[in-house]
């Protein structure tokens, strides 16, 4: 059974690149356009990992992490924050909210996969 990764990003091109990369590596992908969408799609699903952008309309990355961590099924699931280098303090905020780690944009597909392997093996 392949692992399921939920990815939330408001940029269609980043979403496409992320989905393509991780699907190609054999994972299943659920795409969401922002935090609220992600939260809706996460409900009732078995999800092994979450990749979320930081800045999104409706519900941003930090908000999404807080909401997810409050759900029993997402208490211990790895959540990776996609940030840009100008958001160092956001990284810390993300960690405080319960993020497992982060990946700095721009990143290459192999860097993304390295981080995924790092947190879900």
């Amino acid at each position: 059974m392949s692992k399921v990764i939920l990815t939330a990003d408001d940029s269609a091109s980043v979403r496409q690149m992320v989905s393509f990369t991780i699907r190609d590596a054999g994972y299943e992908v659920i795409e969401a356009v922002d935090g609220r969408d992600a939260l809706a799609k996460a409900a009732g699903q078995t999800i092994h990992m979450v990749l979320t952008d930081l800045n999104m309309p409706n519900l941003d990355g930090i908000g999404l992490i807080r909401e997810l961590r409050a759900l029993p099924a997402f208490k211990f699931i790895p959540i990776i924050l996609l940030t840009t280098e100008s958001q160092a303090e956001k990284k810390m905020e993300g960690k405080a909210a319960g993020a497992t780690g982060w990946i700095v944009k721009p990143f290459k597909p192999e860097q993304l996969l390295a981080v995924i392997r790092k947190v879900i093996g």
Binding site: N55, P57, T84, S86, K91, G101, P106, L113, K118
Partner: protein, 710 residues
């Protein structure tokens, strides 16, 4: 990546349009937080994606703007029409950049863009006072491709204790340990002493810490990078304990007690007290409660680790090698060849002189020479495995092309063969494997119908057999169809319609030029030229081919090759005063040929050997010797192209291992001789190319007697 770039362009246009609308609205309602947020996010997304897809100029420009709007968003800066104006101009620049990329031009960084960038930056600086060092935390981002540190392996002692609430961040510390394992030789011991009893334990907390011994070529930063996500959620100590002093013995076998002292787990006086009794130190320490059992366990792991590192080092040192150009080796082999010749002359002379002292020296030289020769030859030997691995790709690609499911298995990849033999073996093997895939193994559906697994197997195996290497290419395909081969051979005029052939001879027919059983020409095995090319290739290597096949079960093609081309095992024969070498690989037996035998055959060149009629040819005729043949000659029977042929010589002298010397340019047109060698007394002996002699004889006969064989 290009299709992502395309997606980005579309997205950029949308974002820019949205930006414009938001900016114009913002101009009217400068305090609207929602609008500010929208502008910021659009800039942010533009920046993020442009960087991702290689639009670096856009990224640079939007980066500065994003920073300004971040200030605006946090209320540190107010929106005014100048800012809106500047941002709108920036949007135009970005649009130009996106479009320019669309046209495929390289865009020089426009002055306008630089000016806008600069303006935004100065805005920022005005407000911030001084640029804050924001990249402080970004010094180390996880790198996918960490570079190995130059030079030798280092040994690290790593202590890692995650915070109790580590699981709440979605971190699995065991995955981190596995990453450490991937860096090199690693021993990990958990520290469990903090795990409380069931009444006190929080089942979702982490109570475990780890002591890791790692020997790796990666540097300390590569290890730290593994823990980058948890660096504020754990205590992590990494100590490089590599011993650079080079004094191996002193450190490698450090006693357990010393390790404990060094780790600070026990004091020196305590250790000495314990050493005075005579039990195993580990047990005593634990029993006496001086050191916790776990600490002993960890020290033991360290001891074991260091021993293992030492062992590996020795293995590596043993495997150390040097590279030399192949031509140097060739020269060495050549010289050894000459030396062998000189040595056998020395032996011969010493026997003739019958001088005990000289004989003693000659024998000594002979023994050393044999060692020298074997050693030199072994330098040229390479494992055949490197060739084997190349075929895996071939099998994969070809079977995919033909819609077949085939796996290649190899055995004996470590079998060593002379470098030149390996090189020349490549083409024949490619042909043979192609044949297996194309003609041998059936389509998956056909296999299933025949009750075989869908996946066909091609086995490529090599093994030593005396001075030869036997290479087997076996498939579990359809096998050869003997009747079809016979029919085709008759059709092609290769055999007579009434010819009686053994199974082996029948199969050997497919090696004949122009023979092909494939129903159609495919790109894989070509037009039926494959097998005779193989045959030529193997002949050139002084090897033989045997084909075994069972209809429906598969076929095996067995190649027998000499270990090296530099030396051959030959049979030394004589005609009048000339000596010749016949390669031993093809020879079956030697029998006498008397005048009576010749008379019985009514002038035909055939002899009856063990009830079988064997055609022969006289080498003295082939080489046009003028003298009289002796009353009793000898026939050396050989198997050439699946048939038996005898060669008549004056005398068979015996087996002779010889170093092959090439004949030089002058003689390159003489096909019937493949080389020469120098005998012990300095005489030259020619090495015969038997199949070529047969060919030539057949040609001459055909010219003379028009189209009948033998």
């Amino acid at each position: 990546m290009d299709k992502f770039r395309e997606a980005f362009r579309e997205e950029a246009h949308e974002l820019l349009a949205e930006l414009e609308t938001s900016l114009l609205e913002l101009e009217k309602e400068p305090g609207d937080e929602d609008l500010i947020g929208r502008v910021f996010r659009a800039m942010h997304t533009l920046k993020g994606s442009s960087g991702m897809f290689g639009f670096d100029d856009i990224k640079k420009l939007t980066h500065d703007i994003e920073n300004v709007y971040d200030m605006v968003r946090s209320g540190k800066m107010a929106v005014n029409s100048a800012l809106i104006d500047m941002t709108l101009r920036a949007c135009d620049e970005v649009k130009k950049m996106v479009e320019a990329e669309e046209d495929g031009e390289a865009v020089p960084e426009s002055e306008a863009a630089l000016a806008i960038s600069g303006a935004f930056r100065s805005l920022l600086e005005d407000f911030r006072g001084e640029a804050k060092p924001e990249a402080a935390h970004d010094g180390r981002v996880p790198r996918a491709d960490e570079e190995k540190k130059e030079g030798n392996a280092h040994t690290y002692r790593i202590s890692f204790r995650p915070a109790a609430d580590i699981f709440l961040s979605g971190t699995n510390p065991l995955l981190l340990l596995n990453e450490v394992r991937d860096l090199g030789l690693c021993d990990i011991v958990a520290r469990t002493e903090q795990i409380p009893s069931l009444n006190e334990i929080d089942p979702e907390a982490c109570y475990t810490g780890w002591e890791v011994m790692l020997t790796s070529e990666h540097d300390i930063n590569a290890i730290r990078d593994i823990f980058i996500f948890v660096e504020d959620q754990c205590t992590l100590d990494i100590e490089d304990i590599t011993d650079d002093s080079g004094d191996e013995e002193a450190r490698e076998d450090r006693k357990l007690g010393e390790i404990l002292v060094k780790r600070g787990d026990i004091s020196e006086p305590d250790l000495r007290k314990i050493l005075d009794s005579h039990k195993k130190i580990g047990e005593i320490l634990v029993e006496s409660g001086v050191v916790g059992a776990e600490k002993v366990e960890i020290a033991l792991a360290e001891q074991k680790h260091v021993r293992e590192v030492k062992q590996r080092k020795q293995v590596v040192e043993a495997a150390a090698s040097i590279r030399v150009p192949a031509e140097k080796l060739d020269r060495l082999v050549n010289m050894v060849g000459e030396l062998v010749t000189v040595q056998s002359r020395l032996s011969q002379i010493s026997t003739q002189r019958n001088d005990p002292l000289l004989i003693q020296v000659a024998e000594e030289v002979e023994r050393l020479m044999a060692d020298l020769r074997d050693n030199t030859m072994s330098i040229r030997m390479l494992a055949i495995g490197s060739t084997f691995s190349r075929f895996e790709r071939l099998v994969r690609d070809l079977s995919a092309e033909l819609g077949k499911d085939i796996v290649l298995k190899t055995e004996g990849a470590e079998t060593e063969l002379d470098k030149t033999v390996i090189e020349k073996l490549n083409d024949p093997l490619v042909h043979l494997i192609r044949n297996c895939i194309d003609h041998g193994i059936e389509a998956p559906a056909v296999r299933e119908a025949a009750g075989k697994p869908r996946q066909g197997t091609v086995l490529l195996a090599a093994e030593h057999a005396g001075a030869h290497v036997v290479i087997t290419i076996r498939d579990d395909g359809a096998g050869l169809d003997g009747e079809a081969i016979r029919a085709k051979a008759i059709e092609r005029g290769i055999i007579a319609p009434d010819a009686e052939l053994s199974e082996r001879e029948l199969y050997a027919l497919i090696l004949q030029p122009g023979f092909s059983t494939a129903r159609k020409v495919t790109s894989v095995s070509g037009r039926g030229v494959g097998m005779d090319v193989v045959k030529k290739g193997i002949d050139a290597l002084q090897g033989t081919i045997e084909i075994i096949s069972k209809k429906g079960k598969g076929s095996s093609i067995i190649l027998k090759l000499p270990l090296t081309l530099a030396i051959i095992d030959g049979l030394l024969v004589r005609i009048e005063e000339s000596y010749f070498i016949m390669p031993l690989s093809a020879i079956e037996e030697c029998v006498e040929l008397t005048n009576a035998d010749i008379a019985r055959a009514h002038g035909k060149c055939i002899a009856e050997i063990r009830g079988e009629i064997v055609p022969y040819l006289r080498l003295r005729d082939a080489f046009a010797f003028a003298g009289q043949r002796p009353a009793i000659e000898q026939i050396v029977t050989t198997r050439i192209n699946g048939g038996r042929v005898g060669f008549v010589v004056d005398q068979v002298i015996g087996g002779h291992q010889t170093v092959i010397k090439s004949m030089g340019q002058m003689c390159k047109d003489i096909k019937t001789v493949s080389g020469a060698t120098i005998l012990g007394d300095g005489t030259v002996a020619l090495i015969l190319d038997l199949p070529k002699i047969v060919e030539q004889a057949e040609r001459e006969e055909a010219v003379g007697r028009n189209n009948s064989r033998y």
